[in-house]
Amino acid sequence: MTGSVLIEGVTKTFWRSPAVAGADFAAGHGVTGLLGPNGAGKTTLLRMMATVLAPDSGRLRLLGHDPATPSGRLAIRRRLGYLPQEPGFHRGMTVFGFIDYVAILKELTDRRARHDEVRRVIDLVGLAPVSGKRIRAVSGGMRRRVGLAQALLGDPDLVILDEPTAGLDPELRLRFREIVSRIGEGRTVVLSTHQTEDVAAVCQQVVVLHEGRSLFAGTPAALIEQAAGRVWLDRTRGAGAQLAWRNGDGLVRNVGDAPAGAELMAPTLEDAYLLLVGDKELVVTS
């Protein structure tokens, strides 16, 4: 495997409960989406990639360095941007002040150059009008953008974003997708989500995680291809349907083993993902 991110047989257990039970994938330039249900191990895997958590076993190689060694870890952190799932903020600081604080932690010590960089990332995420406001006074969506802005400080080569669109309204999600797509040009971005629309919109590669294991790693098109011939419309729920729901036209969209002569549909990324994860509890019958 080659790329900025190499993960081989990585495992992590918390209190005898395996959070990651054997993940394997590689990611290069562009946006890679980790897709999986809640509890699939996405956050644990991203935290290991952000060098804040050590794996129990397996091999991680990030930007050509081993995060298990102090020198490797330092080298990675100097080229890393990280947005945790629930980023904390010093709420009494202004937007500019907080990003400036993180910039100091990122070793940008020259005051003038650091402030220029802070202004750059604030402009990038569209926060310039509120840069002087205290974080406690800005909305949740803006705080999310503050989190993204700090992750982009220093123009990092590897950007890790844990559920960057969680809890955002549709307009903000579109704005985030635009920003993520832009930062994915020329660097490696790995993001986690449980929204297939996010992956379909911005990711060049998708890794499906389920119960701590990587079930699929490849392009979204290749994942969709796996569901070809397995989605059909009918008046009722098909016997071989793994999942089925009635759509707006009153017909039932079936996903599973199609019967002979079924009216096949072009699968979506969501169909392919559901087939792969195989959550039968989601079945909605007619």
């Binding site: 060098t51 804040v52 995060p67 870890r73 100097r78 890393l80 903020f89 907080f98 990122k106 003038r112």
Partner: protein, 275 residues
């Protein structure tokens, strides 16, 4: 439109930022109402200088205004970036400082009100060294630093940050305890006898923090300290811990702890750094 115009030489000096301020102010006032002079000025202004001036203006408007703690640190000679990191320490905020002052006030009040000076003094001497330990623990506990995980993934040395914050918290707490100690009747003893124990307990907490959560380390060290003071008071004699032998023991604990702290900094980096 005005009836006069700025001569070319004065205009050139103004464009290059030279000449007396009074002349510059006069030219500036004139330019506001004279299109002809503005037109003459434009090509004389160097773009580089204009950009620098504009950057200065933006910098003044944008740059975060330092808070009180940060300003005090800057006055004390701390660099701008280090002052910013220290000012974000939870235990250098007003709420913590007030809680610490309240604890000290209680100890002083108890010492004076008891009427039995030895017991009151002992209470103060027991409490004073524990305060910096608590301050250090809270200063670096991951649950109390909202941006802990973001900081962890940054290249800034977590060991350096720990030591900087610990030193700042210890200095502030010790200064407050020093003032409180001078208010007590037995001031010859209370003014300084707790200093070495405070240093020993704080450095021991930092050493233990490489293996266990800093809050547990601080709690354990504090509990052992209280038990030691009380048992030595009961079995050896009043203020035994604060006598020459006790002070020497504290000095030894502090010295060994600091040596371990420096020698084992990679292990701290690993523990604090998460990986």
């Amino acid at each position: 439109m005005t009836g006069w115009h700025v001569d070319e030489e004065t205009l050139a000096r103004y464009a290059h930022g030279r000449g007396p301020l009074s002349v510059g102010a006069s030219v500036e006032a004139h330019l506001l109402s004279c299109a002809r002079c503005r037109a003459l000025l434009t090509p004389a202004v160097e773009l580089d200088r204009l950009e620098r001036l504009w950057d200065d203006v933006v910098e003044r408007v944008d740059a975060p205004r330092p808070g009180m703690v940060e300003r005090l640190l800057r006055l004390a000679g701390v660099s701008e970036d280090t002052a910013r990191l220290l000012a974000a320490t939870p235990t250098l905020r007003a709420s913590w400082l007030l809680a610490m002052a309240a604890a000290l006030a209680f100890a002083v009040f108890a010492a004076i009100a008891s009427g039995v000076h030895e017991r009151g003094t002992l209470l103060f001497l027991t409490v004073a060294p524990v305060l910096p330990v608590a301050g250090v623990a809270v200063a670096f506990h991951r649950g109390l630093d909202p941006a802990y995980e973001i900081g962890l993934a940054a290249p800034y040395s977590q060991v350096r940050l720990l030591l900087l914050r610990s030193a700042a918290v210890t200095a502030v707490t010790c200064a407050a305890a020093l003032v409180a100690g001078l208010l007590l009747p037995e001031r010859a003893l209370t003014a300084a006898a707790w200093l070495l124990p405070a240093l020993a307990l704080t450095s021991l907490t930092l050493v233990l923090a490489r293996r266990v959560d800093v809050i547990y380390a601080a709690g354990g060290v504090g509990a052992v300290w209280v038990v030691t003071v009380v048992s030595s008071h009961l079995h050896v004699g009043q203020f035994a811990v604060f006598g020459a032998a006790g002070q020497l023991a504290c000095l030894a604990v502090a010295a060994v702890s600091l040596v371990v702290l420096v020698a084992d900094r990679d292990r701290y980096a690993t523990r604090l750094g998460g990986v």
